[in-house]
């Protein structure tokens, strides 16, 4: 750096550097991150498994010979592989494989939709509070504190008695709680980003606040946010299962992983497969997300390794 001040024409040095850089073809931070992620065996395996699971959830229900709600009084409590039911049947003679696929689809959908909601709200809220700072930050973060201090189940029950149980409500209830942590993470990151020189430069160039938040702050938040998203999806799938388990979530004959496990647990002595298959599916799904999240964190933020 000091060489510049000695150089009579500082721009020539810069130009040489640029030309050289173009020839070597630099690796961006994201290239680096992807390379590191691809070397992480657990994360890559998880991605493959997850792709299989997601495909099964999307396509699977159209391919099964039985529908998830078809009740068959002659085929109740069938063990796996009996009578063409690959994973057996439940107390009403419904095909477990069909129910498992539809349940996986519902759980994944809730996880992804609720995460997107919490992502959008959390990022906007946190970035605004962190960037504007002062009294606005104070008020916005106190609102987060208040919502944090209300028990989750309180929201759910009130929403349920007001609007009745339906799937959209579950999205709302879970999203209403999950964006809080996201906004705190984003705010913390924004506070430290704000001090950086390139923000200063943007301000000096006359960019207005909104544009700085949109064009400079939010893209740089991507790293920690992506990591948190991959860890939020499994958290939401779990939260939905808890609600379904307590009878506050998805209503029959629809299924989610949570309702399947809840029903399986009731009959576990008579028909253990009704508990085992949904449990294994859920654990596998959650593990995939967690491994990918951990892998991403190591890849994006190498100093944590």
């Amino acid at each position: 750096m000091t060489a510049y001040s000695l150089n009579p024409n500082p721009l020539s040095g810069r130009r040489d550097q640029l030309v050289e850089g173009a020839a070597v073809k630099g690796r961006s931070l994201w290239d680096d991150a992807r390379r590191r992620l691809m070397r992480n065996r657990a994360a890559v395996t998880s991605m493959v498994v997850l792709i299989v699971l997601v495909t099964a959830a999307i396509v699977g229900p159209y391919l099964t010979p039985y529908s998830y709600e078809e009740i068959n009084k002659n085929d109740v409590w069938l063990p796996p592989l009996a009578n063409g039911h690959l994973l057996g049947t439940d107390s009403l003679g419904r095909d477990l494989l069909a129910r498992l696929l539809i349940g996986l689809r519902v759980s994944l959908a809730i996880g992804i939709v609720a995460t997107s909601v919490s992502l959008v709200v959390g990022v906007i809220w946190g970035a605004t509070a962190g960037y504007i700072g002062g009294a606005v930050d104070e008020v916005m973060m106190r609102i987060v504190d208040v919502l944090y201090s209300l028990p989750f189940i309180f929201f759910v029950i009130l929403l349920m008695v007001t609007f009745g149980t339906n799937i959209v409500l579950i999205f709302v209830a879970i999203g209403a709680v999950e964006w809080l942590t996201m906004s705190r993470i984003v705010r913390g990151q924004t506070l430290s980003l704000k001090q950086k020189e390139f923000i200063e430069a943007a301000r000096a160039n006359g960019l207005d606040r909104g544009a700085i938040v949109r064009r400079h702050i939010v893209p740089n938040l991507l790293g920690p946010v992506v990591v948190y998203v991959t860890l939020t999806i499994p958290a939401i799938i779990l939260a939905e299962s808890f609600l379904s388990f307590l009878g506050l979530g998805v209503q029959p004959p629809m299924a989610s992983l949570g309702t399947l496990i809840a029903n399986g647990a009731q009959d576990m002595e008579l028909a253990p497969w009704l508990l085992i298959f949904p449990s294994v599916t859920m654990v596998a799904t959650l593990m995939c997300f967690n491994f990918i999240g951990d892998g991403l964190r190591d890849a994006i933020d190498p100093k944590d390794r």
Partner: protein
């Protein structure tokens, strides 16, 4: 230190006040009321009952009355449990959640921190991978999978432990619920401890301690651990609040008469005062434990100054 405490309390008290207000009006905005029974009360009786609990007044007046009450510790009468105050009702139900929650926190902290330290000391060794596998599994296998499985194996197959029930807090009845509650916590605590420990073990002052020739166990327990459990401190605050106010799923599966289940029943029956009492307890716990975590943080890390 005192100024820090005062300033935090100045923020916490308005927060609590807003929580109470939001909860109060949300509760009242929900349809139905505590006297909406399956068997309709005659209108005169219903009017009398409402009058007794001041529910015939406008909501804002009721709100003022409620605030005046709690400002000197009166949470009002329960609307469902006749002739009992909210505090009496909560006291009757609190023991189960307190016993379970405390046991689970202590058990999970001891096991989690120990596993985390061992894993960090043998980083990338077999033990490390073992602990991390447990940690990942612990987060992914939710309580409603582990609970029925334990019941199946130790309750009905082996018959070592009672499948469910409280039985006045007999140790035998506590074992399975506490283990189920602890597992996810052990997973998170061991991960946090391991990450903190690995970072600290590479720091300069630990190298100095090694150079001075201190035995490894002293370095770990006296020097490294203090700094390594810092992330844990901020995690444990809210986690404790959650555990102490009852865990719905575990209470339901093991049929324990705890606060979580009680809260749901009260909310569904619109027992306004009891629900408000629980919300206040939960919010106070969260605020206090967060404050305690910050203080502990400052006590453990001399670089953090509380002013």
């Amino acid at each position: 230190m005192l100024r820090f405490l005062l300033r935090r309390l100045m923020v916490a008290i308005p927060t609590l006040f807003v929580v109470i207000t939001v909860a109060f009006f949300m509760m009242r905005a929900a349809p139905g009321n505590p006297f909406d029974l399956d068997r309709k009360l005659p209108p005169e009786i219903e009017a009398n009952v409402k009058k007794k609990f001041h529910m015939d007044e406008p909501v804002v007046v009721q709100y003022g009355r409620y605030l005046a009450g709690i400002s000197h510790g009166d949470f009002g009468p329960s609307l469902k449990y006749q002739d009992k105050s909210v505090l009496q009702v909560l006291k009757e139900n609190y023991r189960v959640s307190l016993t379970l929650g405390l046991s689970a926190i202590i058990f999970a902290s001891i096991i989690g921190v120990t596993l985390g330290i061992l894993a960090a000391l043998r980083q990338n060794g077999a033990l490390d991978y073992g602990v991390m596998a447990i940690a990942i599994l612990g987060v992914c296998i939710s309580t409603f999978v582990t609970a029925p499985l334990l019941q199946l194996v130790f309750g009905s197959k082996l018959g070592w432990l009672p499948i469910a029930g409280w039985d006045n807090g007999a140790v035998k009845n506590l074992v399975m619920p506490v283990i189920v509650l602890s597992l996810p916590q052990i997973a998170i605590i061991s991960r946090l401890t391991r990450a903190g420990m690995i970072e600290v073990l590479h720091s300069n002052y630990v190298r100095t301690a090694r150079a001075k020739g201190l035995p490894e166990h002293r370095i770990v327990t006296r020097h490294a651990l203090r700094a390594a459990i810092l992330p844990l401190v901020s995690y444990l605050g809210p986690a404790c609040a959650g555990l102490l106010t009852g865990s719905l799923v575990v209470e339901k599966i093991f049929s324990l008469p705890g606060l979580g289940k009680f809260f749901v029943i009260s909310a569904l029956q619109r027992d306004y005062t009891v629900v408000m009492g629980m919300v206040i307890i939960y919010a106070t716990l969260i605020l206090c434990l967060n404050l305690a975590a910050d203080l502990l943080y400052a006590a453990l890390d001399p670089r953090v100054r509380v002013t």
